[in-house]
């Protein structure tokens, strides 16, 4: 009986016999990543609530940008599971440098910036749900979405330690 890809990856990680994801056969992995799979991995890479609609847009872009997207998502999920990770800090260091880590950073980039790259022709995934704005939502309004009433912005300086929950 053939090993599932997840079992193979787990075994490789646990025994220290890690090889880069690109060298692995795609046993048991679908040819294309699903939105659900993308969301599952996104929630492992980001410790916050994520919008499903935005995730579907990013997933579609990821599938185009990374031909082996499904395999990479599976690899990341396996690494997280191996550590029984509850947050990204628990396992991100286990993601090998190179294409897999670059992919993981791209997923995080997409959620935080709301677009596909820092270039001017980037694809926009979201403005209002871009996580960068959530980190300062207690004091800075997203441009074009004011949250205070007339003349109600004169307030004390908010400390850096008050990270909003999002």
């Amino acid at each position: 009986m053939a090993l599932s890809r997840r079992k193979f990856l787990l075994g490789a990680t646990v025994t220290g016999a890690w090889v880069t994801w690109g060298a692995l056969p795609a046993w048991g992995v679908g040819a294309t990543a699903s939105s659900a799979q993308f969301m599952e991995v996104s929630k492992l890479l980001i410790n916050h609530q994520l919008d499903e609609t935005v995730g579907a847009r990013i997933a579609a872009a990821a599938a185009k940008k990374y031909p082996q997207c499904a395999q990479m998502l599976t690899s990341i999920a396996a690494l997280a599971q191996a550590k029984q990770a509850k947050q990204v800090e628990d396992f991100f260091g286990d993601i090998p440098e190179g294409p897999l880590q670059e992919f993981a950073h791209w997923v995080i980039f997409a959620w935080y910036s709301g677009c596909s790259s820092p270039k001017k022709d980037a694809q926009l995934f979201t403005f209002e749900h871009a996580l960068t704005y959530k980190t300062t939502a207690d004091t800075v309004a997203m441009p074009s979405y004011g949250f205070s009433g007339p003349n109600l912005w004169s307030r004390p300086i908010v400390p850096l330690s008050n990270m909003p929950i999002f």
Binding site: E89, P118, A141, M142, P143, S144
Partner: protein
């Protein structure tokens, strides 16, 4: 419905100058026909354009105003050298941004409305540099007040916080129609810090509704999006006035690119020719004509209208059309701060240090004004934070820290009129086959010396007092997008294009009001002075028409 072809007054341009004149003329019972090169769009459309831009373009004030093929305007963030609209040369780049849309560039202005001082208008007499104005401050003051009420400009009632400072010759005839807007936390901290250096950071007089509705527009609610567009219309922009002046009888034809003025045997203007978006040519006639299409498009149209009687272009017997191009050359200090300031709470420009623009030093070098840029910082710092490769709590903390603990302080300078800073017609053509503007520009030693011995040293002292741990100063002067000087005003027709009413010396029924007529720049934004000149010109037009 066919477009109208004649009116008492034909106005080219529907920006703040054009609509202010139009409303004055309509109220006096005159008929008005306005031509706008670009399209007419809704606020909702522009706001949606902004929201749908990728983050890298959200800081560009023009990006949510894509130019029409027939009415190009500068798009510095995306245009290539090959398709650039402005053809720039010289030691400094006159890289302006403006919008050819109905409503003009007030769509994306910050609303800042600093008056000139009496001294700003007498540089030659007081300091031996530049030019004196053809009018003095007392003559302009009633028009400043009129502008403050027409646009809805809020400002302080305390004389110590007003600009210009209360002095002999600078008295205000009326208070501002609305009180100033409160400071956000970063501006308040900046104000407290510069006070320790002896500087007063005072509330910006600005065309934005403070705590109340005004002129059928709502109160500002701190969307922090004045540039590139106010989502709710709390900030004045000329687009808010278009429907009102139409209700008063104005006829507005959009997508109408004026390309030539015709003159008769007496050298009076008799018609404007324009192309529509299908390249079909049309002709409109009138009794008076106003070119209010900004300090670049107005001189360009005058130069394009050269004819046998006016071989160097209309209004150009002085050879000053397109010369003396001016702006407020600015340097930006991007600071990393030890403690949070939280820029981005409130409107984008809300305060400034103006007193540094004045002094006897102006015989030697330019003055400067300093402002804390109050734009939300996320859009500027996000890529930098992500590039560090952080994840999880560390990434959140870094974005939050960089948003709170970075700030831009802008040093905006005055510049002198120099005939060598010149707009001409390029041999490169636009979509309609019309020449693109070519502009040679050098900010000059007067301004460069200011940066060297005055403004940058002050800026660094401010940065140090703010607790900056890192200072990045822009390596060259950038433009403030305050276009001035291309049709300069003066008392002598031999070295000036327009008289004290912005009437062309060469054509007694042609008016060229706005920033192009300004004879000095000072350091503060030019719009309130442009509109004040527009009202003065409009009064002259009414007198001329009623006396005719």
């Amino acid at each position: 419905m066919s477009n109208p072809t004649s009116a008492d007054v034909v106005i080219v341009g529907t920006g703040v100058v054009g609509v202010s004149i139009a409303e004055t003329l309509l109220d006096a019972g005159l008929s008005v026909l306005m031509l706008e090169a670009g399209p007419r769009v809704s606020r909702a459309e522009v706001v949606e354009n902004f929201r749908n831009l990728p983050l890298a373009l959200k800081g560009d004030p023009s990006s949510c105003y894509p130019p029409a093929a027939w009415a190009p305007h500068p798009m510095a963030s995306i245009e290539t050298k090959e398709d650039a609209y402005l053809q720039l040369s010289g030691p400094d780049r006159y890289a302006q941004s403006y919008i050819r849309y109905a409503g003009g560039s007030t769509w994306h202005w910050a609303g800042t409305c600093w008056r000139l001082t009496p001294e700003d208008m007498r540089l030659k007499t007081l300091y031996g540099v530049g030019r004196d104005w053809a009018i003095d401050y007392q003559t302009l003051e009633p028009y400043y007040t009129r502008t403050e009420y027409a646009l809805g400009i809020c400002g302080p009632s305390e004389p110590a916080e007003q600009w210009p400072p209360l002095s002999e010759g600078a008295a205000r005839s009326k208070p501002y129609p609305m009180p100033p807007l409160p400071f956000g936390p970063g501006e308040q901290r900046f104000t407290d810090v510069v006070k320790t250096l002896g500087y007063s950071n005072i509330p910006t007089a600005q065309a934005r509704n403070s705590g109340t509705s005004y002129d059928d527009r709502p109160a500002c609610c701190a969307n922090n999006n004045c540039v590139p567009v106010c989502p709710v219309g709390a900030k004045y922009d000329a687009a808010t006035a278009l429907s009102r002046i139409e209700a008063k009888g104005a006829k507005i034809t959009a997508n109408a690119v004026a390309y030539r003025l015709e003159t008769d045997g007496a050298n009076r203007v008799i018609a404007v020719n324009y192309f529509d978006q299908n390249k079909a040519s049309h002709r409109v006639t009138g009794k008076l004509f106003v070119l209010a299409c900004n300090g670049i498009e107005t001189p360009k149209l005058l130069l394009m209208s050269a004819n046998a009687r006016n071989p160097n272009g209309l209004a150009n017997s002085s050879d000053q059309v397109g010369r003396n191009m001016m702006d407020h050359p600015q340097l930006t200090m991007t600071l990393t701060l030890a403690e949070p300031y939280w820029a981005g709470v409130g409107p984008v420009v809300n305060s400034g240090i103006m007193e540094t623009s004045q002094g006897a030093f102006r015989s030697e070098h330019a003055g400067a004004y300093f402002r804390f840029n109050n734009f939300a910082r996320n859009r500027f710092v996000t890529f930098g934070a992500l590039k560090k490769g952080l994840v999880g709590k560390a990434l959140d903390a870094e974005i939050r820290r960089m948003t709170a603990c970075t700030a831009d302080v802008v040093l905006a300078h005055e510049v002198l009129p120099d005939p060598n800073n010149r707009l001409t017609l390029s041999d490169k053509k636009d979509w309609l086959g019309l020449p693109k503007p070519a502009i040679h520009y050098d900010v000059g030693d007067y301004t460069r010396k200011s940066a060297e011995v005055y403004s940058v040293p002050i800026g660094k002292r401010i940065a140090q007092a703010m607790g900056a741990t890192d200072i990045k100063l822009s390596p060259q002067f950038n433009q403030s997008k305050h276009i001035m000087g291309g049709t300069i005003m003066g008392l002598d027709h031999k070295d000036s294009v327009v008289d004290a009413d912005c009437r062309a010396y060469d054509h007694d029924n042609l008016f060229l009001p706005g920033g192009g007529a300004m004879a000095s720049t000072a350091c503060g934004n030019s719009t309130i002075t442009m509109v004040s000149l527009a009202f003065k010109a409009a009064d002259a037009m009414v007198r001329q028409m009623k006396g005719a």
